[in-house]
């Protein structure tokens, strides 16, 4: 898919500046990239979370397109309703078919945890919408609590580092594979530094005849404990260490989009962020070994699924 940066660079952003997200937050980068790729006319739904609170402090809004927020867990159901009403009114000749597109932006807490049932239901019913998970690997809006997207060993305020526990003691779940198992037309993982890959995926997703899902890693300088200027480098490092892989599942066919060479050790990833600092101590080497083994296992599994040898 050809993506020309020049027209995009002068195109109006559908998310206006002046919002209240943190300096260095990857969420707006990803939202703007995706909305440039999707284009108008588009309707956006958000779950409760950083993006929602920072872009809609009444009486202000950063959204230049129709936008709806209902609650934390139900953005997929909400967009189901919006999309269905659109079809209903077009069918009854009450409004004109303008080829409206429907996009959800939700965090990992809303996607992996509290909203899982709602997304699953909406995907099974086959509503035509793109669901984007802005995955910063914890409940950042409430102040860095662990979610089921939080990686093994990470410090959060509800998986603290103490005498008994070295951060989170469970591996994260593979939500992207869970949604791929819904047999929807398009599922992918992406990252903001790989903007061309991300935007191509958004274009494919929105063109799909049915539900689509993109899980995007969004480095969070507050929650991951790094300098705000390093966001894009963190995104790149996540992919080069294989803690986050770029792939897509198109009509059930798994395709790898990036093969890091060399594949960097997970310690490079751990060293880059304050949330993993405790793991660098000698007494926690076994935790690092477990994490590396899991990253390798998941990477091998992905290569098998993508038939890459």
């Amino acid at each position: 898919m050809v993506l020309n940066l020049e027209p995009i660079s002068v195109e109006r952003d559908l998310l206006a500046p002046g919002h209240r997200l943190c300096a260095g937050c990857a969420e707006t980068i990803v939202v703007r990239q995706i909305l440039h790729a999707v284009g108008e006319p588009v309707i956006v739904a958000s779950s409760t979370g950083c993006l929602e609170v920072a872009t809609s402090p009444y009486p202000y809004t950063s959204w230049r397109v129709p936008w709806i927020h209902s609650a934390f867990e139900n953005a997929a159901s909400t967009i189901s309703g919006v999309e269905t009403m659109y079809r209903a009114l077009v069918k009854r000749g009450k409004i004109e078919d303008k080829g409206l597109k429907f996009v959800v932006f939700a965090g990992d807490g809303a996607t992996y945890d509290i909203g899982l049932q709602f997304i699953s239901g909406a995907m099974e019913r086959g509503h035509r919408f793109l669901y984007v998970c802005l995955n910063n690997e914890a409940y950042m809006n409430t102040g860095i609590q662990r979610s089921s997207a939080t990686p093994f060993g990470a410090w959060t305020t509800t998986s603290p580092v103490g005498k008994e526990t070295p951060g989170k003691t469970q591996h994260r779940k593979d939500i992207t594979a869970i949604f791929a198992a819904h047999n929807i037309p398009f599922v992918a993982q992406a990252a903001p530094h790989a903007w061309r890959d991300l935007m191509s995926k958004a274009k494919k997703a929105i063109a799909a005849d049915g539900p689509s899902f993109i899980n995007v890693i969004v480095p969070c300088q507050r929650g991951w404990r790094y300098a705000p200027g390093d966001t894009i480098e963190l995104s790149r490092l996540a992919v080069d260490t294989c803690v986050w892989s770029l792939y897509e599942v198109v009509d059930g066919e798994w395709r790898l989009n990036y093969y890091p060479n060399p594949k960097k050790p997970v310690t490079d990833w751990l060293k880059s962020q304050g949330r993993f600092q405790h793991l660098l101590k000698p007494e926690n080497k076994h935790v690092v070994d477990i994490l590396q083994a899991e990253v390798d296992r998941q990477w091998t599994k992905l290569l098998e699924r993508c038939k890459v040898s």
Partner: protein
């Protein structure tokens, strides 16, 4: 609007089917619903109408009631007519988003088939579900019989969508007692329903991409309270609108049901107050008591939210003794929700008649005329002896 009375079509239907039939005639743009006893018959029947093309509605077979209300919110904000139906635990699961629907001023209609709340598990009627959503900002009507379930199902659309109201609205019919009981009713011809509900033009459709709106913003200390104040005002407006819509519907059908209704009330000394299907049972008890020379009467509350306080106070002001019947229990309260409203209405209008509160019929426990006759006899005793005794009582329960 002045309407010409139309000839009704007599049919025999269960309450759930009467509601589904009203939904077919209303032909909403979107229905999102989930099955739950004793409401299931409504979604089953309506699904048939969708499958057979008898409605143009897009039906969303959601995976839960929370999703049902969430999809209704999205669909209503998008800009069209939206309905759902639920019961008991389903309404409890919706609780969070009931408030989103009303706070976003979305005129969603929900047909409620009353069911108790677990635990212990019980699928039968009491009002814990709809009274439990008392403070969620929904207009609430209660149905006395299957005819009224049908009539209210149609009227609530007009109430919810009225520009002075714009609030989600329920009408509630007693599970099984009305929901699964066949009664004779008169339905309207399809075109009369179409004409009565008219067309809906949403003021702020999300689908209008030329005029982008942000729905459901973050709203903190500086504006939230004003928005809630406006919502409260909309509820006040609903009082007039419920009455006005009832009047128009009465012109159309000859059946006038307003905010409250009296039965043999004018000269009554002893009055029971209630809502729902027990009104019919109590009318029978009133007649029995009248035969015994007791001046018994009844006040039916059709509209519980907004509560028609002035009308209730006026209707009850000079009675010798009153019993308010609640089919839900507010654990630890001095009195229960309907009684609380009635006492509040009386007190704020300067009246303090002798009054007791009965909890009855929880979990579908039968309530029969003889039990209500006993209540009247108790009211007579209270008046004779001048001693009220315990205000809070339980009807027909083993101690």
């Amino acid at each position: 609007m002045t309407l010409q009375k139309v000839k009704g079509i007599p049919v025999a239907l269960e309450g759930d089917r009467a509601v589904a039939e009203a939904m077919r005639q209303m032909n909403p743009d979107v229905v999102a619903a989930y099955p739950i006893t004793p409401q299931t018959e409504i979604v089953m029947r309506f699904s048939d109408f969708v499958a057979s093309g008898e409605v143009e509605t897009e039906f969303i077979p959601v995976e839960s009631e929370h999703a049902s209300m969430s999809a209704c919110i999205g669909a209503s904000a998008a800009g069209g007519r939206v309905q759902t139906a639920s019961s008991g635990a389903g309404i409890a699961l919706m609780w969070e988003v009931l408030w989103v629907a009303s706070g976003s001023r979305l005129p969603i209609v929900m047909h409620v088939v009353n069911r108790s709340l677990s635990a212990p598990l019980n699928i039968h009627c009491d009002h814990s579900d709809s009274i439990g959503m008392r403070d969620a900002g929904w207009v609430q009507l209660y149905d006395e019989d299957v005819q009224e379930a049908y009539d209210n199902a149609i009227q609530v659309v007009r109430i919810a969508e009225h520009p002075d109201v714009l609030l989600p609205t329920i009408h509630a019919l007693d599970g099984f007692i009305l929901g699964h009981s066949v009664e004779r009713l008169e339905k309207l011809p399809d075109e009369a329903v179409t004409e009565f509900i008219g067309t809906y033009t949403p003021a702020y459709p999300l689908l209008d991409v030329e005029h982008p709106l942000s729905y459901g913003p973050m709203d903190l200390q500086d504006y939230f309270f004003e928005h809630k104040r406006q919502q409260a005002e909309a509820m006040v407006h609903a009082l007039d609108v419920v009455a006005q819509v009832a009047e128009e519907y009465g012109d159309l059908t000859g059946r006038y049901h307003s905010l409250i209704e009296g039965y043999r009330l004018d000269d009554a000394d002893f009055v029971t107050v209630m809502l729902g299907s027990t009104v019919g049972t109590a009318k029978c008890a009133v007649d029995l008591m009248r035969e015994q020379g007791v001046k018994a009467g009844l006040l039916k509350i059709r509209c519980f939210r907004p509560f028609p306080a002035a009308a209730v106070a006026e209707a009850l002001a000079d009675r010798k003794a009153i019993a308010v019947l609640d089919r839900s229990l507010s654990f630890g309260a001095q009195i229960n929700p309907l009684c609380l409203e009635v006492i509040g209405a009386l007190y704020s209008h300067g009246f303090a008649p002798k009054l007791i509160n009965y909890v009855y019929g929880l979990g579908g426990r039968d309530t029969v005329p003889a039990q209500i006759c006993e209540i009247y006899q108790e009211l007579v005793r209270i008046d004779r002896e001048g001693v009220t005794g315990s205000v809070l009582r339980y009807l027909a329960v083993r101690d």
